[in-house]
């Protein structure tokens, strides 16, 4: 167990570990999205960020629209309703609030780039995205995006995918202990290798648990505490998206978000109400309302018990 106390408020974690100009990995594949952390980044007016985000929903839209981001590496930015990510569109098409550069990937190539990043591999080779403009059109990554070569083993064309690494990674998962041994279950998308490709990690969890809870079910740990800089206990930190076993997807909120943010003024009003107008997540949850939260709470479905066995000492 580490000596240092990693458990802190979202405000402190973002103040200490997210710097202007950082390359930031945002975890989660629809599931496990760190909305509470992103709202705090916006409140603290972080700027010139490069956001690396495989396939999320409105979280990048909010950061870009708030003016925190210069560059985006992504496979997908949209509102799942499905509707456009209006603020992201405004930034890319019209440079509002300022221009952002986008580097497009695919879900698989981004997963492989995170895998290479986490293991510090020089590259991985794949048969995707050959033949697409994702290979031929590049912005800020230029020659460092992909390279097509003939395999030295088979002679067939392959796409080399270099690692994506990050200054800081943020994810909202189910639980961890005080050391930040973080456990996640449900759809994991790119989260495991993504969060392990970051120099610093802010781990946001629905629940802090005793160290024994983790140690009696260690298969569920996706990141060890030794790689985690800050642990933030933030219930409902993934709303309006969902956390398996905790709460369901708030579909109506995404419909509301679509309507509210179609126009620039509407987007600014949205931020004023839901981000700048609240001091923290607890305040935000009051706006969502207890009745809504109760409706979204997940029911219970458990599996049969898993036996890891107990092993006798030698002698």
């Amino acid at each position: 167990m580490s000596e240092e106390n990693k458990v802190m408020s979202m405000r402190e974690a973002v103040e200490r570990f997210v710097r202007d100009g950082d390359t930031v990995y945002l975890g989660g594949f629809v599931h496990h999205e760190p909305y509470a952390a992103v709202h705090e980044i916006i409140r603290q007016k972080k700027k010139n960020l490069t956001v690396s985000r495989c396939a999320g929903i409105t979280i990048v839209d909010q950061l870009v629209g708030a003016g925190c981001v210069d560059k985006v590496i992504t496979a997908y930015v949209w509102n799942p309703v499905p509707k456009p990510a209006h603020a992201f569109k405004r930034a890319v098409e019209k440079g509002i609030p300022h221009a952002v550069e986008v580097e497009d990937y695919t879900v698989l190539t981004m997963n492989l780039a995170y895998f290479a990043g986490a293991l510090d591999l020089p590259f991985v080779a794949a048969k995707t995205p050959l033949g697409s403009d994702i290979v031929s059109q590049r912005t800020f990554l230029g020659d460092d995006k992909f390279k097509i070569i003939e395999s030295p083993f088979t002679g067939e064309k392959v796409c080399l995918i270099p690692p994506l690494k990050h200054d800081v990674g943020i994810i909202q998962i189910q639980r961890s202990d005080l050391d930040g041994n973080g456990q996640a279950w449900g759809i994991l998308g790119d989260s495991k290798y993504g969060i392990n490709s970051c120099s610093k990690v802010i781990l946001c969890v629905e629940e802090l648990v005793e160290r024994d809870v983790i140690r009696k079910d260690p298969n569920r740990t996706i990141i060890p505490g030794c790689k985690v800089s800050a642990v933030v206990e933030e219930q409902w930190g993934g709303h309006p998206s969902y956390i398996t076993g905790y709460y369901d997807f708030d579909w109506s909120y995404f419909l509301y978000y679509d309507e509210a943010t179609k126009k620039l003024e509407g987007f600014e009003e949205y931020l004023e109400k839901w981000v700048y107008g609240v001091k923290d997540r607890q305040d935000y949850l009051k706006l969502v309302g207890e009745e809504k939260l109760q409706k979204l709470k997940a029911g219970i479905q458990t599996s049969g018990q898993v036996n890891y066995g107990k092993y006798k000492p030698w002698g």
Partner: protein, 269 residues
């Protein structure tokens, strides 16, 4: 069997496309129409299919509700495997264990190239779309890709502005020259007017049209001079039973069929 009379073009599209699925197959599917097509197939002729979703789910059960997106939490319950994208897009699709794949698309061109990224210039586009998601991976790797979209002339340009997901690229052998494996690539496109397939040069042609649609009408709604199969045929309408299953069992709240997903009042009650 009695044919249905009162059905919508999207219902015909869903039911026709579902017939491409054989019971027991393994599928990789994207969000939107592929969800309805596969859920319909499971309730009718192909109950034993296995579906892989890009977020990391491998699924062969019946969900508690029609999934809204490929990462819908309802798919975790009953999943055979729930893990990473590397389990599905990686080991299932890139690993060669998928029989066919379904995608929804915004734009499809003469050679089956799909654009879901942008209109106009890439760096400063006139209109920015969502991006590939896993679609490009499907298009590069799947042995049999089936594309679904509501028919609109604007959605069938001769050449897409940006190839998000490669079809036969410039035709002839350009797909192989790009390094994509033989036996992969688009197999069919189903729209609200008919079904399109690809000739040996990789060019899309009209294979079949729906009842009440004419070849001329399809031709007029394409962005290029469309080739038509010598054996072009009119497809049979759905049966009354198929339509009942689609409406009452697959999508009873009309989340996709009437786009109730986009209606906030449905969720506030």
């Amino acid at each position: 069997m009695k044919f249905a009379e009162d059905y919508k073009p999207v219902e015909m599209m869903i039911i026709s496309a579902s017939r491409e699925i054989t019971n027991g197959q393994t599928l990789m599917i994207g969000t939107q129409w592929p969800v309805v097509v596969t859920m319909f197939a499971k309730r009718t002729h192909a109950p034993e299919i296995t579906i892989a979703f890009e977020g990391g789910i491998i699924y062969d059960d019946f969900p508690s509700r029609i999934p809204f997106l490929s990462a819908d939490p309802c798919l975790v319950n009953g999943a055979a495997l729930c893990g990473d994208s590397l389990d599905t897009l990686g080991m299932a699709l890139h690993g060669g264990r998928v029989d066919l794949a379904f995608l929804s698309a915004a734009n499809v061109d003469r050679y089956g190239n799909i654009n879901t990224t942008c209109f106009g210039d890439y760096v400063r586009p006139k209109y920015r779309l969502g991006g590939s998601g896993g679609a490009c991976d499907f298009a590069c790797l799947a042995p049999r890709l089936i594309v679904l979209l509501e028919h609109d002339k604007k959605r069938f340009p001769e050449r897409v502005d940006y190839i998000t997901s490669p079809g036969y690229i410039d035709g002839c052998d350009s797909r192989q020259r790009a390094g994509l494996r033989p036996g992969t690539g688009p197999y069919a496109v189903y729209t609200t007017l008919g079904c399109f397939k690809f000739d040996s040069m990789g060019e899309m042609y009209l294979d079949a049209y729906y009842p009440g649609v004419t070849v001329e009408q399809v031709r007029e709604n394409m962005g290029w001079e469309l080739k038509v199969s010598e054996k072009v045929k009119e497809l049979e309408p759905p049966s009354e039973e198929d339509l009942r299953i689609l409406r009452e069992e697959v999508d009873p709240f009309k989340m996709y069929l009437d786009e109730a997903r986009a209606n906030i009042s449905v969720f506030q009650n």
